[in-house]
């Protein structure tokens, strides 16, 4: 884009949204964009999705120096506006004003990781071409100093001709200056600091002219969009975005065909000329103050990504994580347990016996209470993963795991989806969109749900609690068990990936290139906010889906009513769920499971953690109108087979855990896999192979254990 052509103009007051200016936050991944967004907006945020696509939409608000509201949108991180994936397409379309669900933002805040200035300025120059008033924020200035460099902010401001502010998002330094700058009533529209190569200019002019005919298209935006269209390998479209128009697309293809026949690499030319301009500026703006040897990050990495010590570090971190989950959560869990029991007893005391009392106590309170008791452990899990993420360790974990992944033929890019699946398989499956090779992508989708997600945690924890009472067994046994279960899931994911790549979808695995960001002091505020956000979702699920399913399950376990003379066990056995349980009992009895566990298995097809609530409901109803309410663990320990033999023997508890490691018990994941693979074939295959493996393995474990007399 020519600097001479984009003239400096001031935005008009009418162009700003009547409820105050709307700012879009853009930046490279790991540039501290979200930390800055959180710093400005605090808890005043709304998190949702863009309609039609599962890309996070985060909108916040704060007040200007003059008390005017300022809206802020946190857009997905990207290295360039040239979209290759749906979230990058969202970023592009929001900035170009192509989204049907929202208006174009008035202004942009471009967050730059100052310690990687050259790479970050690439996106900045693209954003400036859009013609929206822009503020550039130089984040992580401490790392610039750490590298022995100095950055001339004013020189950069002269080149970019927009406000450039220095900031330290994790400590909040520079936030006030940013707030003041964002409060300006009017701002200048930027000019592009980059000259478009002569050979490409006629094409850009022609395509821009075709785009300008479209409604709501500004001149400068049309030119910027034309450059983006010429830079794309293929035009990525997302639901909810307005189409660019066939005329401009046809023109783009025509110019591309001409250049291709001439052997002219226009895409390379655009990238190279842009980088040339940036490199020239960086040479001028960045100055080396002192020669630095190895940085602290380098020294830590010598151990953390070492072929042997790296694994020890990863193992140690996992031990600390599980240790904290088991030890620190004990008191708050006991507290919640007591509270749930007290609420149940209070309701029992206040109401006469009857179905409504049973619904409240045995259905709602037992079901929801059975799940929310795990909140402290979930909080700790998310706190730790947040710490690891924001400190920069996650990228190192990806790096050391890549060696194993390439051995089993998995793409290096599969790591992030698989890692995400430790939290939840759904973002994991969706993150596979970054894998270009369709076979690699499919294999990753197929094995992602084997990674132990957070929803399995309540099942594991309940079974571990029943299996190893804390009074008798040291915490290390529990940690060992958790390690085993997580290891089993991960090992199975790799094993199946190897099998699929070898027999189902042959192909070479590609190399992974990953950026190892320097270690950073994690922003505690940010980690805690993320943890609270996740916990809120967990609680909302407990209060909605789990509560609903618990009520329905209570109904199924209570009706049709047995005669007055029947015992509570007989009443449950002849209820709807009891009948369903008895129908499937012959199939699951060889695994050591009775019909009541069967009800839990069926109910948890909706979501794994429903197992805990449904078991809680079935065993509470089974317990009858007894005024003495026992904690769930004790209910389970007291449960027996009709012949009086204990039901939850250590062997059965272990078999159940193994079953949950493998079984595909998550409807949401099935739906997402269907959507991502565009057919029912793969999700059905996934249910078949995962649940089949779960059944077979559990059968082998239970029958072998029984034959050898272990854990009976």
């Amino acid at each position: 884009m020519s600097g001479a052509e984009g003239q400096t103009a001031t935005e008009s007051a009418e162009s700003i949204h009547p409820n105050g200016p709307v700012y879009a936050f853009v930046g490279n991944p790991n540039s501290g964009k979200t930390t800055l967004f959180n710093g400005l907006t605090g808890m005043r945020q709304k998190v949702g999705n863009y309609p039609g696509v599962t890309v996070e939409k985060k909108v916040g608000q704060f007040y200007s120096q003059h008390g005017r509201p300022i809206q802020v949108i946190d857009l997905p991180g990207a290295y360039s506006l040239v979209a290759r994936s749906p979230d990058e397409a969202i970023l592009r379309d929001v900035l170009l004003g192509r989204r049907a669900d929202m208006e174009r933002p008035d202004r942009v805040v471009c967050v730059v990781d100052a310690s990687n200035l050259e790479r970050n300025l690439y996106l900045v120059t693209q954003v400036l071409e859009l013609g929206l008033p822009t503020i550039v924020v130089l984040n992580m200035m401490d790392q610039v100093k750490g590298k022995g460099l100095s950055l001339d902010r004013e020189a950069l401001e002269d080149w970019l001709r927009v406000p450039v502010l220095a900031c330290q998002a994790n400590t909040g330094e520079g936030l006030l200056a940013l707030r003041v700058t964002m409060s300006r009533a009017v701002m200048d529209r930027p000019r592009s600091p980059w000259e478009l190569p002569d050979k490409i200019r006629p094409a850009v002019d022609e395509i821009a002219a075709a785009l300008e005919g479209l409604p709501g298209q500004e001149r400068l935006t049309g030119r910027a969009e034309a450059v983006l269209m010429l830079s794309e390998q293929e035009h990525v479209r997302v639901t909810g975005s307005r189409h660019v128009g066939d005329e401009s697309l046809d023109l783009t293809r025509a110019w591309e065909a001409t250049w291709e026949s001439e052997g002219f690499d226009w895409r390379g030319e655009i990238v190279a000329s842009r980088y040339e301009a940036i490199a020239g500026t960086c040479a001028h703006v960045l100055r080396r103050e002192e020669e630095k040897g190895k940085t602290v990050s380098d020294r830590i990495d010598a151990v953390v990504v070492h072929p042997i010590w790296g694994w020890f570090t990863l193992g140690a971190i996992m031990v600390i994580l599980f240790f904290s989950i088991f030890t620190f959560a004990e008191y708050p869990m006991n507290f919640i347990d007591t509270m749930v029991a007290q609420v149940g007893e209070a309701v029992t005391g206040m109401m006469p016996p009857g179905d409504l009392r049973s619904l409240i106590v045995d259905g709602a309170i037992s079901g929801v209470g059975g799940v929310i008791i795990f909140l402290p452990q979930i909080l700790i899990l998310f706190f730790f993963t947040g710490l690891l993420e924001s400190s920069g360790y996650m990228a190192r974990a990806a790096f050391i795991m890549d060696r194993v992944m390439s051995r089993v033929g998995l793409n290096g890019k599969s790591f992030i989806p698989l890692l995400s699946s430790f939290a939840c398989a759904i973002p994991g499956v969706m993150a596979t969109r970054t894998i270009e090779d369709p076979k690699d992508r499919l294999v990753t989708i197929l094995v992602a749900p084997l990674m132990s997600c957070a929803a399995r945690m309540p099942v594991y924890l309940l079974m571990i609690a029943a299996l190893v009472p804390s009074e008798r067994v040291p915490v290390w046994t529990k940690i060992g068990l958790m390690f085993l279960l997580y290891g089993l899931g991960t090992g199975a994911a790799f094993g199946f990936a190897w099998l699929f790549k070898r027999f189902l979808m042959r192909g070479e695995s590609s190399l992974m290139i990953i950026e190892l960001p320097p270690y950073r002091r994690p922003s505690l505020r940010n980690v805690i906010m993320q943890m609270l956000e996740r916990s809120f979702l967990f609680l909302r699920k407990a209060g909605t889906i789990i509560l609903g399913l618990s009520i329905i399950l209570w109904c199924l376990s209570t009706y049709p009513k047995a005669p007055e003379s029947a015992t509570s066990a007989e009443a449950v056995a002849q209820s709807f769920s009891g009948r369903i349980g008895h129908v499937i009992e012959p199939a699951i009895a060889p695994l050591g499971f009775d019909w009541r566990i069967g009800i839990g298995l069926v109910a948890s097809f909706a979501a794994r953690e429903v197992f805990v609530s449904s078991i809680a409901v079935v065993f509470s109803v089974d317990h009858g109108d007894d005024e003495n309410i026992l904690p769930l663990r004790e209910e389970l320990l007291a449960a027996t087979w009709p012949d009086g033999a204990p039901l939850f023997t250590p062997l059965v508890c272990f078999s159940l855990m193994v079953f949950y490691v493998f079984a595909m018990q998550c409807m949401s994941t099935v739906v997402i896999v269907k959507r991502e693979t565009n057919s029912w074939r793969w999700p059905l295959f996934q249910i078949g192979y995962m649940t089949g493996t779960a059944y077979l393995l559990t059968l082998i474990i239970y029958q072998t254990g029984r034959a050898l007399g272990i854990g009976l």
Partner: protein, 46 residues
């Protein structure tokens, strides 16, 4: 409250719950939600 009244109220609660769940699912489908609210982050994980 009589035992019979409790049964009718309990059945009413169950009916409302089923209706709300069906309605919620329909609304999620209409809004293009996935059935899980996990935010997607391509470059990190949650």
């Amino acid at each position: 409250m009589s035992s019979e009244a409790q049964t009718w109220i309990a059945l009413g609660v169950v009916g409302i719950t089923i209706a709300l769940m069906v309605l919620g699912r329909w609304r999620r489908k209409r809004n293009g939600r996935t059935g899980c609210d996990c935010p997607v982050k391509k470059d990190g994980f949650r």
